[in-house]
Amino acid sequence: MIEIKDIKKSFGDNDVLKGISGKFEAGVTNLIIGGSGSGKTTLLKCMIGLHHPEVGIVEYDDREFTKMNFEEKIEVRKEIGMLFQGSALFDSMTVEENIMFPLNMFTEQSRSEKLDRVNFCLDRVNLEGKNKLFPAELSGGMKKRVGIARAIAMNPKYLFVDEPNSGLDPKTSIVIDDLIKEITEEYNTTTIVVTHDMNSVMGIGDYILFLHEGKKFWEGSNKDIAHTDIAELNDFVFASRFMKAAKGKF
């Protein structure tokens, strides 16, 4: 479980996060949603320590991450897997080397054990046999799946996903969403997905935290999101013509 309490972050005069709190449980898909510039990626980066919040607490299973020193943070980070918006695969390495990289760094496994784990992770994301390809030879969806395979290589307790569907077609987006949900439930990970894709919200949003202008405006599940009277949330949820037309059918 990850808990955030009163997170505030600004860049110069721009207050990006204005006191955000929330609780993200294990085994369910937690979504942070909001429009562009609402602060969701900044919140994610504060949670994983890439940004340092001016005020607030981030706790990983009651361990206060924000107060930890460099070495203690590294220990927590070994329990974190992350899928980046652009996949962030190491482009000088093959798919196999990318997934094996954290295993090389932090385990004493033999090469065959590591290879077994790589193949298991690739099978899990339906990319068996793609070991020797380089990231430049992969499609956007395949890159995301390799990113997921790398993120789960170390059996993470916490999985962070930043805009998993950006640049993907709707069909591939569903594949990625389903994969994230399956992995979350299978390994009981605490999964946090940052997205503004309404398909993801309706499809996998077990717990949703809606941000608007750096503040938490609403929290709930995908079953409740279409039935609120919060204007800012309705503007976001029913922004597309398709959703506007479908309004009332939820």
Binding site: G49, I74, E75, I80, A88, F90, M105, F106, M154
Partner: protein, 244 residues
């Protein structure tokens, strides 16, 4: 590099020299960088050094028109100039262009494509993993390249001088073997060590803190070469002043 940047540079170096997560992986990366920085630069440094030595000999011969000055002095001047100044400094400046821009753009691209963030999220000390092997390869391979450059510059002087008839082979060899002070080699190697550190660490710093996209990576690469060259020349003066 203003004081803020210099402070950031020192803090980055502090992070670079943290204990490696796994020495075996770092060792592999060091050898890879040695191959890139050292072996990959042999051809370029060889060509440049040979021609500089040859041109130096011709120019010294052109200026020494007096019959009172023995022609053996051409070899002596070429030897000392090559060892003390030309080989370390020209090698370093050429490498700052070749290696520096490559290091800066490699690390800068990793930064803008979130690969450095990915390393940090995995719990890896990214400055150490990305920069330490480059610095260690730089401070070992640049002195080796400088030694090779000294030898080829003096050899180039021999070829240029004798083929043009500016000096006879016997005069040149007598010149380069007379009054040789081995301390000049020590000074050159100290310079090479310092330059090797600058050539790798300054571009790594410029790349590591890039913000933006392709344009900013290119700008950082240019800045890396400029700052490295100026730092090399400033340190050249300081080391010469301290050691001679």
């Amino acid at each position: 590099m203003n004081f803020t940047n210099f402070g950031k540079y020192l803090l980055l170096l502090k992070a670079v020299f943290r204990k490696p997560e796994k020495f075996k992986i770092y060792l592999k990366a060091i050898f890879k960088q040695m191959d890139f920085i050292g072996v990959g630069s042999i051809g370029l440094i060889a060509i440049i050094s040979t021609f500089i030595g040859a041109v130096m000999t011709l120019q010294i011969a052109f200026q020494l028109v007096s019959d009172f000055i023995p022609k053996t002095i051409i070899g002596s001047v070429n030897r000392d100039s090559s060892i003390l100044e030309l080989s370390p400094t020209i090698t370093a400046i050429v490498l700052a262009g070749k290696i520096g821009s490559a290091i800066s753009s490699e690390i800068g691209t990793m930064r803008v494509s979130e690969q450095i963030d990915a390393l940090e999220i995995m719990g890896i000390n990214s400055p150490g993993y990305l920069i330490l092997p480059k610095i260690l390869a730089g401070i070992t391979m640049v002195p080796m390249l400088v030694v090779m450059s000294m030898f080829l510059s003096i050899t180039g002087g021999y070829l240029g001088g004798t083929l043009s008839g500016a000096v006879t082979p016997a005069e040149y060899i007598e010149g380069i073997t007379t009054d040789f002070n081995s301390y000049t080699i020590v000074v050159a190697l100290v310079k090479a060590f310092v330059f090797g550190f600058i050539i790798t660490s300054v571009p790594a710093y410029e790349g590591f803190y890039v913000k933006g996209g392709a344009l900013e990576v290119a700008q950082a690469s240019t800045r890396a070469v400029v700052v490295s060259c100026i730092s090399i020349l400033a340190c050249d003066y300081i080391v010469t002043q301290l050691l001679l």
